[in-house]
């Protein structure tokens, strides 16, 4: 198992090299002058030029790329061209908000989505099934920002129960959590339903029933456990995606998360922040997927056996 984890962590290195290359390359396609950004519009042309040379911006793309990679592996993500603060510092300042938002939404999505999915599968073709699948379709079709605004109008403006912006307390997170979780609930519900319907038809479920086992235990112990693989995969992927992809929700609720940071940095061509933030997110995503893979081992003894063998 330890060997397996180590292997996966080593696989992070080529992943990072590729990600940095792609991001760096794309940002390089649009003309930019870091000297101008740092010194401001009022700086003289000579000063800007000198700054660009100091930053190594007169060098070709590949040279800059290699230099950045070397710095990166020394743990130096550079400083922001706009604010002058360390990239690591600015990303981590935003990180708690994003993680709270993503983790809360993931938990909500798993709990609600899986429960409704189980209900829909166990009572296939019943009203619960129809209601569940319809709900999933509705949740998946409405864009998050629209759902967010509707929730704000209802719960913040009309009823006045919850705050509509900021990050002061748990109450501040309730609306963003639900808004983010919507699409997630939908996918989780559908995945659980499909996967469980498949495993309910397996022979071993019939074996369990033939033992005289209670239906609830048959579903939980025999059917659900074997249906969890795709559900866990999807939950992990969703969580990973949320870490960097909650920009719309962050905007609606004026939360200062990593998503917003990346977006503003792209607009202002603050290359070190963009690349740094994306690298950090990529590492987080890989770690989440690693956790998912380890969870597989707990769900399926066959996978675990394979991990140990490798």
């Amino acid at each position: 198992m330890g060997k397996f984890v180590l292997k996966r962590l080593l696989a992070l290195i080529p992943t990072i090299l590729i990600i940095v290359f792609v991001v760096y390359f794309i940002l390089d396609l649009t003309p930019s002058s870091p000297g101008q950004l740092i010194l401001g519009q009022m700086a003289t042309e000579e000063a800007v030029e000198a700054k660009n040379i100091e930053l190594g911006y007169d060098k070709p793309f590949l040279v800059r790329y290699v230099k950045y990679i070397i710095q990166l592996f020394q743990g130096d993500l550079g400083t922001s061209w706009v604010t002058g603060k360390g990239v690591l510092e600015s990303v981590f300042a935003r990180f708690p908000v994003t993680v709270t938002l993503s983790a809360g939404a993931t938990v909500l999505g798993i709990v609600i989505g899986v429960l409704l999915g189980i209900l829909a599968a166990v009572k296939q073709y019943s009203i619960f099934d129809a209601a569940g699948t319809t709900l999933a379709m509705i949740l998946a079709s409405f864009p998050a920002f629209w759902i967010g605004m509707m929730l704000v109008i209802l719960f913040a403006q009309e009823l006045g129960w919850l705050p509509s912006y900021g990050t002061g307390s748990i109450a501040h997170y309730i609306l963003p959590w639900f808004t983010t979780a919507c699409a997630f609930i939908a996918s989780q519900l559908r995945m659980t339903r499909t996967s469980l319907l498949e495993s309910i038809r397996m022979d071993y479920v019939r074996t369990a029933r033939a033992k005289g086992q209670k239906e609830s235990v048959v579903i939980y112990r025999h059917a659900l456990r074997n249906a969890l693989m795709p559900v866990v995969t999807m939950a992990g992927m969703n969580f990973g995606t949320l870490l960097g992809g909650t920009v719309t929700v962050e905007t609606v609720f004026t939360l200062n998360g990593v998503g917003t940071l990346i977006l503003t940095s792209i607009r202002s061509k603050d290359v070190p922040v963009v690349v740094g933030a994306i690298v950090i997110l990529a590492i987080c995503y890989t770690l989440v997927m690693l956790v998912v893979d380890i969870l597989y081992g707990f769900i399926d003894p066959q996978v675990k056996a394979r991990y140990i063998k490798n």
């Binding site: 022979d203 071993y204 019939r206 074996t207 369990a208 029933r209 033939a210 005289g212 003894p301």
Partner: protein
């Protein structure tokens, strides 16, 4: 000789599968009975309604489509079809167990085999035995079916097909049921393993005094293990009797004759096998009168008109008009 007690009696059982497209008549009014410590073989082609009969006895038919249209399943005098769901759960696994056809998929891949045997014991642990006692019983069962008890902590994927079938048998026998239904227990296994598993089941039957229903399409299995035989065709029992009646009796249903002709005979020089021509009728659209009629070499207009004559001699029953004529001739 002591009077044999009837354990299971099936009367006029009729089962259909109702789907949006069609009504499939899977079992059409079958009757048979089984005494204590007896083994009956249900023989027939795929789709003859053998498995449906087995699932009906345990009330494990698919909930949405399977419907029991009529008849009775009397187990020790009580009609299982009248029992409530919780009552039925106490019968399943404890008094009547089933071994399903494919051992490869019959075990839960996520649980250790020991836990799966233990589960059966835990469900029916009415005596309130301790966990230790139950675990000791699991070891005992593993030894009984010939698997080292140390392997109980392993998962199904670590066992071969024959070993898995042994575990399935251990699960079925865990609570010492009075009736064991074996649904094609050896079909999915290769020949050498088949013999082992049959031998094992035969030994267990003798040791434990369990009655058995063996579902198979293999007449060899029947000859080796059964006391009684019921030949099923298109949801009906076309011929039933003791093993002696079926294998050595004079009179036979044309379908039974066909089945025997389809077995290669080593003593006679035969160019090729003689299979029964045609296919089993679509159970959603059964022919009128005798269901075997369209494939029968002795088919007459009379067979089409009404349900066939039932010939009876002691326990031997044949559902065929051939014997009506003979009765009239005499």
């Amino acid at each position: 000789m002591e009077e044999k007690k009837t354990l299971l009696e099936i009367k006029d059982l009729e089962v259909i599968y109702q789907t949006d497209e069609a009504t499939v008549h899977a079992v059409n009014g079958i009757n048979f009975s089984l005494n204590e410590k007896e083994t009956i073989g249900l023989v027939g082609e795929t789709g003859a309604g053998k498995t449906t009969t087995a699932l009906t006895i345990l009330r494990l038919l698919p909930e949405r489509t399977g419907r029991i249209k009529g008849g009775q399943v009397l187990f020790r005098g009580e009609n299982l079809l009248d029992k409530s769901v919780p009552e039925m759960r106490r019968v399943r696994g404890a008094e009547i167990s089933i071994i399903f056809q494919d051992p490869m998929t019959a075990l839960n891949p996520a649980l250790t085999v020991g836990d799966q045997v233990l589960e059966s014991l835990e469900i029916h642990n009415t005596a309130g035995k301790s966990k230790q006692e139950l675990n000791a019983r699991v070891d005992e069962l593993f030894n009984l079916v010939g698997i080292p008890a140390e392997r109980k902590a392993e998962y199904p994927h670590q066992f071969s097909g024959g070993m898995k079938q042994r575990i399935v048998i251990a699960i079925a026998l865990a609570c010492a049921p009075q009736l064991l239904i074996a649904d094609e227990p050896t079909t999915a296994l290769d020949v050498t393993i088949q013999a082992q598993v049959l031998k094992l089941m035969e030994n267990l039957k003798e040791e434990l005094g369990t009655s058995m229903i063996i579902i198979t399409h293999d007449l060899g299995v029947v000859a080796e293990t059964c006391d009684k035989v019921a030949i099923m065709y298109a949801g009906e029992i076309v011929e039933a009797g003791t093993v002696e009646d079926i294998f050595n009796g004079k009179e036979h249903h044309p379908y039974t004759v066909g089945l025997f002709n389809a077995i290669p005979n080593l003593d006679e020089k035969e160019e090729r096998l003689r299979p029964i021509d045609g296919l089993m009728p679509d159970p959603a659209n059964l022919p009128q009168g005798c269901k075997f009629g369209p494939r029968c070499p002795h088919f007459t207009e009379a067979c089409k008109a009404q349900t066939p004559y039932i010939y009876e001699e002691k326990e031997h029953r044949i559902m065929c008009n051939l014997f009506k004529k003979e009765a009239a001739d005499e």
